[in-house]
Subunit: 163 residues, 4 copies
């Protein structure tokens, strides 16, 4: 499934959020960097709901790679829904597919990927995805990342020093 | 040149910036989303210096795609340098390679890409990169993006509706 | 009514909002500066709902003064309600009393004031509060600001150059 | 000294900072909430320089009250200087006078106050200002807060529950 075809139906889990006045930049649209605040908040709020406090999971989920494609602008004060799906569950990494929709809307403003790598809090070396997290992500709808995304994910784990 | 080998020497233009207390998240490191504020600010500050007010260039530079790989954590209050280089100058798009370095440091905390597509302010259809911008980016060091990034750039122009 | 006694009952209008992962600072609580994003967003979202696009009201509402007292910490991912009340409607200024509550909660995390001064978009000189805005704020519950706040408001109008 | 008369000469310590593209709101000026990020960052960067890691001072500095008056607008990409002075050193609180100047400029864009109350990390009850902090603030220039600010400071300590 290509990015252009990702619609609401590809997602079963959503995080609803409110926009803020200063999310809009000088052009009157949500600034490109702000979508990453949405991604971060959606994944962590959902993980907290499913797994409890994400800072107490044994392993620490550090963000190894993110990207975003901007398709249609959004603007304060519209409310938004962030769709969360699974691209790939690795031994120590989880790659999420995210998409930011108008509230109840069909086609996304942006689509993006968000890769968590779990590390040991002391050594900062990659370690296994916590069982609670693995169980939670197993309930997400799965989107085929294609060969490119698999390469990205492997490379993210490899290159991670500390984040 | 792979991402892991991108060091300070690949860049000839830098934007120095200060970190902020709340750039750090609960883990005491600069949050992943904040690096995109750095990218945005570096590109726009540099363009402003070279081309004047970026909101008065005729065409409007909208952000079509961004990504970031997180290699080594940074933290407030350390100052940072954002290196700016050119990946690809297209007819209507400019793809920048960015890297965030410790102030005067050799190896980046993160590396990323940032794609501007220029659109007509009224029709929002892609239009030619403004001559001032094309002249400015021609002075940047050039980094070979590889075939993947070229595909990304073409696709970004194609999929852009409005941002 | 002193600040310590301001509870949910003093407000009849609320703006519900979601917190974000990076609203929390290193101490795991919503950062002091972030409450001002909540204030700004609450007032502007409410004004937009009541008066339409706030950038097309003829006069421009510029923020002349804000303050905040932090009473009890909040933290992502809890949702919040911002209560909006009127302290004072002047000829060219509106002073709002704001309070950020836990969602459906009785006692505020913080309380604050937010003063809009309306200026002519061209001359930037104070001008009359737009009739639509005056009509909207007349529907808010009124909180006695005390003599100090009246002085603050008068002084804010006086000292405003351009914002 | 009234706020309108606070100029660069009242300050002996400055924190230089860079603005960011999205500091500007839809009106093309630095958003009111963003100045509090500047305040926070200036105080904490200066304290870190003078006292070391502010999260390891024994007592925890929590923000009890802030305010800001907006006098003249600023805008990205201009660099700014935050002036830091002392209003009042109490047993458990430090009240700072802050002012945000154009880089090397004489008259401030905004002026504000920032009150830290030091609390015991475990009990969250107010405790003595750490000796290192007291010694550092003793080197700042002192601005007479007037009777109003003293009342504010006392009240902030009194009303603080936890922040």
């Amino acid at each position: 499934m290509t990015a252009e075809l990702l619609n609401r139906g590809a997602f079963s889990v959503f995080h609803e959020l409110s926009t803020r006045w200063n999310d809009n930049d000088q052009y009157g649209h949500v600034n490109n960097a702000v979508y990453y605040e949405y991604f971060d908040s959606a994944v962590n709020a959902w993980l907290t709901k499913r797994c409890g406090d994400v800072t107490h999971l044994g392993a620490l989920g550090v963000v190894a790679e993110t990207n975003c494609r901007y398709l249609r602008s959004a603007a304060f004060p519209q409310p938004l829904d962030v769709g969360i799906a699974l691209l790939r569950l690795g031994r120590s990494s989880v790659s999420y597919q995210l998409a930011v929709f108008p509230h109840h809307g069909e086609w996304p403003h942006v689509i993006g990927r968000f890769v968590h790598v779990y590390v040991d809090p002391l050594t900062r070396r990659p370690t296994a995805v916590p069982p609670k997290v693995a169980a939670a992500v197993a309930t997400l709808s799965v989107i085929d990342p294609g060969p490119e995304a698999n390469a990205v994910s492997a490379s993210a784990v490899h290159s991670l020093k500390e984040n």
